[in-house]
Symmetry: C2
């Protein structure tokens, strides 16, 4: 499975499947069909079958998918069965909101460190995490074995923070700043700014 | 162009193209090739040419795309040349962060109303917007002709807010609450929670 190249679009849909499957599991639902999944998630059932077929023969014809088995498989595929420490830079409203989301991250992905470059924020406590100075980024990130960095600083500061993440050795960045950041080729960056979400929604207005 | 069905993946890439094109335009760059776009955005140039070809023959072989013309076309396609009022429910950290993003939304899409159901937040001012009670949602949304609703309340309150948006007549919802909401079939909902962003990033870790 390791050598297989899966498209980004598929990778982005897997967490959506996972979220819905987790809801089903909580309700003790044992099997689900691609039709049910498709209706709930506004996706073509054939698309869902194709996505899941990347990872093996999970479903049984006429019965559907075993919910708990599928959850386990998707978690393995997304590597959520491993511990993934996350660090965040930018303790403004958005950074605080994300830290408070930590409670929802039941998987082993957790924000373990928060940084800011402004004196007024350093030392604050957000959801049990003390805000540290960005000057401590490299040491803390290496100590806590942080693998993913989140950027929630203003656009003008985003590239510098990205550079610091790269230097500290994180492997992937989730960037909320409304600008494109440059990183070395092997690094993965997802842009998550709201403008693009809103703009793509506008397309669907009549 | 109206009858053409464009895939969601393409619609989601257009704002990303637009953001980068706007940066080029600011720097007075007049033309850009699909290779340049691809390198900058970590996308296959052939994919970019295919995406843009949905909307007509923009590019010139050997020269590339006219930056300002492409900006204008994408804005038309995304309907960003029209005014789109947006309302937000949930004046917590995330809601505040989004309201502060208003400054970045140079397009005609603006958050024009903010609501919360908690007495302690009603009456607060965020970025020149006064937080109103959710009991005023329907009247205010209809008065201001709001077309898109943003949900930034906790998961347990999200469905109720969605119902109120539907009743008030918004056409699309951007949901940040970490749960799936149900809306009538013709309505568009984008889920934008951070968990799925983080989970899809995890896939790319070694």
């Amino acid at each position: 499975m390791k050598t297989m190249k899966i498209s980004e679009a598929v990778v982005r849909r897997l967490p959506v499947y996972l979220r819905f499957l987790n809801e089903l599991s909580k309700k003790n639902v044992q099997t689900v069909s691609s039709q049910d999944l498709g209706q709930k998630l506004d996706l073509n059932p054939a698309q869902i079958r194709k996505d899941l077929a990347y990872f093996g023969e999970f479903g049984k014809k006429g019965i559907g998918y075993d919910v708990d088995y599928l959850i386990e498989k998707i978690r393995q595929i997304l590597k959520l069965d491993k511990i993934i420490p996350v660090a965040l830079v930018g303790a403004g409203n958005l950074g605080r909101a994300l830290c408070n989301y930590n409670a929802y991250l039941k998987d082993n992905m957790k924000i373990v460190a928060v940084f800011d470059s402004h004196e007024s924020k350093i030392g604050d406590t957000i959801n049990n995490l003390k805000v540290k100075s960005t000057s401590e980024m490299k040491a803390t990130i290496q100590e806590l074995k942080v693998r993913i960095g989140i950027i929630t600083v203003p656009a003008a500061e985003a590239q510098q923070v990205a550079n610091q993440f790269v230097e500290a050795g994180v492997e992937a960045i989730l960037n909320f700043a409304p600008m494109i950041i440059k990183v070395p080729g092997e690094m993965r960056v997802h842009h998550a700014d709201f403008t693009t979400e809103l703009q793509s929604l506008a397309y669907y207005l009549d």
